[in-house]
Amino acid sequence: MSQVLTEVLFIQEGESVPPQDLHRVVAYAAWHSLAWLVFANAVGVLLALMLIFPAVNGWLGEWTYGRWMPVHMNLQLYGWCSLPLVAFLFKAYGADRGAAARWSRPALWVWSAALAVGSISWLTGHASGKLFLDWTGYARVLFPLALLFLWAVLGMATVRGWRSQHFATWPARITKIAGLALLLLIPLLLYVASNPALYPPINPDTGGPTGASQLESVLVIIAVLLLLPYGLTKSKNGSMRTGALAWGVFVAEALLCMALGRGDISHHRPTQYISLGSLLVWLPLTPAYYSTFVWHENTRRWRVAFLCWWCILVPTGWCLFLPGVLDHFKFTDGLVAHSLLAMAGFVSSLLIFVLVQLLGEDGWIFNQRLSFYAWNASVFAYVLVMLYAGWREGNDAAFSLVPGLVRNVIYTTRLLLGVVILAASVEWLKDATRLLRANKQAAQGTGQSTAREVVG
């Protein structure tokens, strides 16, 4: 199966793309992603500040904490976490080169415009009350249409590239068409899922998601993890067994998930936490699976980082779901810590790894030593500090409700760590801007020089 997928999606070497055009669309997508990351991180710092100095709310009129929160969360999710995957799709469908590349930039613009409209809508008090599905009114129509336009660009790239190397075989064509069909569902699903009348299963003992829901979400991430390499690189020779094993386990877990059903079931039920515990198998399997592919040397740092975060995320996530533990940490900073571990730790390093692989030599923009360590160390420290806060809060709700010295020290530490995280993202955005400028200069010049040479 892995061989087929490699054949289907792998971008052939030696393709006739001018060197200055090779990464331009991807670099542009990376820039958009980073711009939203920086903005969302800046909002995060503002939110952390508001919890220490509530007077800041007063300075911003009606734009108080509650209105900034959806801006922060949704921009992280739909901006930073989504646009690198858009870059991946551009590459996988060949929309980063040739005539289709011309339409890829407008697709990114429309996406960013939808996020900007969404941000304005949340700040002006338009929200649906559904966390992470806060699209309502005009923005609820605009964002799916932005996705639809992206889909149209990918479709156009598919049609134009029908006879190219990427679509040389029928399996390749069928897989990509199937992928397009699935992608077409996303705008519709997003619109429907934003409906306030729909709500996922509820764990009656916590009010949060059930074990089955969590398993389902993680399996979606695992599916992405399993698919990503096929659009990014090629597999090593003789690596069939690990790939087959990974896909086999995935199918088994998907079946298990379906068997669990979608009822409102408590995490105290052994079926729930034992099923979720089945994810632990991915601790050894994910690194083993990724080691069967050939990666650009620039990705090493972030590949190690995302696999490390994964190895922390999966067991801690499971532990936090266990009876007694979840009862202690639910609604506390402990779960905020784990969210950050997931998003800023694992997902961010995975996305940067993907971008570096897509950018190849231009991936240097993410490889500054200082920003790498500043980001990862700050996220780790943040997780520890907030986990401690969550532990205290689980013992005594007043710990965070009535600010005291320890709570204030913790929140100030969080604020400072947030500033460091923001600074690291600013560094990447700055370098991405330099890369775009260099790409432009390279394109205006002879085309012989690469962006790296122009930047020097």
Partner: protein, 655 residues
């Protein structure tokens, strides 16, 4: 690039000196001391205008003529003539002038300055030597402004200032020898820093900046209150001097890295901020920071652009310099002063219009480069608008629109869900604090359920049964006033329209309708007691009157706002309480039986503190610790046993 010799790097002192002298002469003499001198001679108001007009005419004419005048081709000689003219005019101003002779001196000032500025910037490379030329320009400009702001000099008499300015011009003659005969290494990245700015765009932007600068200067200079807040007093002047020098050096650094595209907009932002801040009395202090920064930022560019950054030959740069100083310098300055004289303020609309000069050209260039992206984005935005309207027209309009439903929408829109949960977890501490528990089916009735995922504040699913409408209103208006140390933002703005009342109605409505679960919860509350150690401490302390500072502090933090006559909540909402909160030390308490034992009284106090009193405005303090409840109960008991008229046994003082 050949490496500069260390001494050659510092060879541009002459250029730095000439720039500084020119600025000092223009700022302290032509713009300042000469006007003071005319005032002393009785040449004011209407008589002043022809004198200033003569100066402007001289400046404009000579700025335009100097680059085209081939009579004296040697730049050094031209500069010497200009400096002598400037010095002569300064010394002549010390004489007892009439209106006519004043006009003649003003004309001489204008002509000499026109010749001096245009000649200096056209051939500045001759005197700047080697090394970082932009830094030297920044240094010269910064020093010029710094000297003008040295308190002794700034506050001296007009005659002294004229003599110093004239003397400096004579000293400047020593700097006019050209640093020639060598192959100087230029370190000015001209192509990069000026590539996107045409000469006419630069000219228009400089004109706008000088206009804003002159208007702000005139307004400050002619209104004593503004003057006192900006450049009166030694400290103010030293701060101004430092700001000027820092901004000038910063401008040079920015010019080198980013060119005019950053420096001029930044100068505009600073000057615009200063002009807008001057509209408010409380904005003067901030204006006094922004103004010098803006002035120095663009002043460096005003020298650096025609001398170092503008593309073209020496002749072309000379002509451009002439236009810049004639139009932006002299005409812009006159227009700014005119605005200050006639309007007394810089109108915000003018500030915005000036800003457009900086934004529009760049925006147009950007739009022309990104036509496809912009067209597609606009098309999708319009299409979405159409689809949204279409869906809206087909949507079934909800007939019911109660205050509770509207309030729920306010709750959602304000993002209350990000701090407050609406889910009491069964078999946890939640139940006692915020119960009773609702079933999942009840929770699902909301569309969507507002369970939330993080508590920065208490759970609200049953808040309607724990808090009165008055308490909620007071809390929304000023949370910290009724809830000690609350970091929730104020939502007083919601009460400017009906949103606030709707929100109160919704939150008041947050409680389960199931009477059985409420009864069960009431029993649970009733069964609650302080833990044995704290209860024993409270009873013992109340009887023995031990140290009660913690209880007193808790009372101050949590109770005073309602239970003391001058409590802020009590005063503000005096007419709205169902029953005015009693003085806890003196008045009879309806829910504490004085005939009961100490143990029972402690228990009654503890229950009231923790759960409040139903059907009144008294809230509970559900998450207050047993230790705090014990300390507060103990203190309250002491107050009732040892009323304020008697000395307190624990402190020996009257309470």
């Amino acid at each position: 690039m050949p490496k500069s010799k260390p001494l050659a790097r510092w060879s541009g002192g002459r250029g730095v000196g000439l720039i500084a002298i020119t600025y000092v002469y223009f700022l302290i003499f032509a713009q300042f001391a000469f006007l003071k001198r005319l005032g002393a001679l009785g040449i004011e108001e209407t008589h002043l205008k022809p004198v200033m007009a003569a100066m402007a005419v001289g400046g404009i004419l000579m700025s335009l003529a100097a680059p085209r005048w081939s009579g004296i081709p040697a730049p050094g000689l031209r500069l010497r003539i200009a400096l002598l003219g400037c010095a002569g005019a300064a010394f002549l101003s010390l004489l007892p002038l009439t209106l006519f002779t004043s006009m003649a001196v003003a004309l001489l000032i204008g002509c000499s300055l026109g010749l001096l500025t245009v000649t200096l910037v056209t051939h500045l490379r001759l005197w700047l030597g080697e090394g970082d030329l932009l830094l030297k320009v920044g240094m010269g400009t910064g020093l010029g402004y710094l000297i003008c702001n040295v308190p002794v000099f700034f506050a001296s008499a007009a005659g002294v200032q004229a003599m110093v300015a004239g003397g400096l011009c004579l000293a400047g003659l020593l700097c006019t020898r050209e640093v020639a005969g060598r192959q100087w290494v230029e370190e000015v990245p001209t192509a990069r820093v000026t590539s996107s700015w045409s000469f006419w765009r630069v000219l228009i932007c400089f004109t706008a900046l000088v206009w804003l600068d002159s208007a702000a200067f005139f307004i400050i200079q002619n209104s004593p209150s503004l003057k006192a807040g900006t450049w009166q007093g030694t400290a103010h002047l030293w701060v101004n001097a430092s700001l000027h020098l820092t901004a000038a050096l910063g401008s040079a650094w920015l010019l080198r890295r980013r060119g005019l595209a950053w420096v001029l907009p930044l100068a505009y932002i600073a000057l615009a901020a200063a002009c807008l801040l001057l509209l408010r009395v409380d904005g003067v202090v901030l204006a006094s920071v922004f103004y010098p920064m803006g002035v120095s930022l663009y002043s460096v560019a005003l020298v650096a652009y025609p001398s170092l950054l503008a593309p073209g030959s020496v002749e072309q740069r000379g002509r451009q310099a002439g236009w810049i100083y004639a139009v932006a310098g002299w005409a812009g300055s006159a227009l700014g002063i005119g605005m200050g004289q006639h309007l007394g303020v810089v109108p915000p609309a003018f500030v915005v219009a000036a800003g457009l000069l900086f934004v529009v050209p760049g925006s147009l260039a950007f739009i022309s480069r990104r036509r496809l992206e912009i067209a597609v984005t606009i098309a999708i935005l319009l299409l979405s608008f159409g689809v949204d309207k279409l869906l809206d027209s087909r949507r079934v309009v909800q007939a019911s629109d109660s205050a509770v439903e509207r309030g729920r929408a306010v709750y959602v829109h304000e993002g209350c869900i990000h701090c407050h949960s609406q889910y009491v977890r069964p078999h946890t501490r939640d139940e006692l604090m915020w119960g009773p528990v609702q079933t999942v089916a009840e929770v699902r009735r909301g569309a969507p359920p507002l369970i939330g995922n993080r508590r920065q504040g208490p759970d609200l699913s049953e808040v309607g049964s724990r808090r009165s409408a008055l308490w909620l209103r007071a809390h929304f208006e000023n949370p910290a006033e009724v809830s000690h140390a609350s970091f929730m933002p104020s939502y007083s703005s919601l009460f400017q329209d009906r949103r606030g009342d709707d929100l109160v109605a919704y939150v008041q409505n947050l409680h389960a309708n199931d009477q059985t679960s409420h009864a069960a919860h009431a029993r649970e509350e009733e069964a609650w007691h302080l833990n044995p150690a704290e209860r024993a401490g409270a009873i013992g302390g109340a009887q023995e009157g031990d140290d009660s500072s913690q209880g007193h502090q808790l009372f101050q933090d949590n109770c005073v706002t309602c239970h003391e006559a001058n409590g802020s909540t009590r005063q503000r909402w005096a007419g709205s309480f169902r029953r005015v909160p009693p003085d806890l030390a003196k008045e009879t308490l309806m829910h504490v039986n004085p005939a009961s034992s100490s143990e029972e009284q402690v228990n009654q106090f503890a229950h009231i503190i923790k759960f409040g009193i139903a059907e009144t405005d008294m809230p509970g303090h559900e998450y207050m610790s047993d230790r705090d409840i014990s300390a507060l109960s103990r203190w309250l008991m002491q107050q009732r046993h040892y009323p304020p008229t008697q000395p307190n046994r624990s402190t020996g003082e009257s309470q």
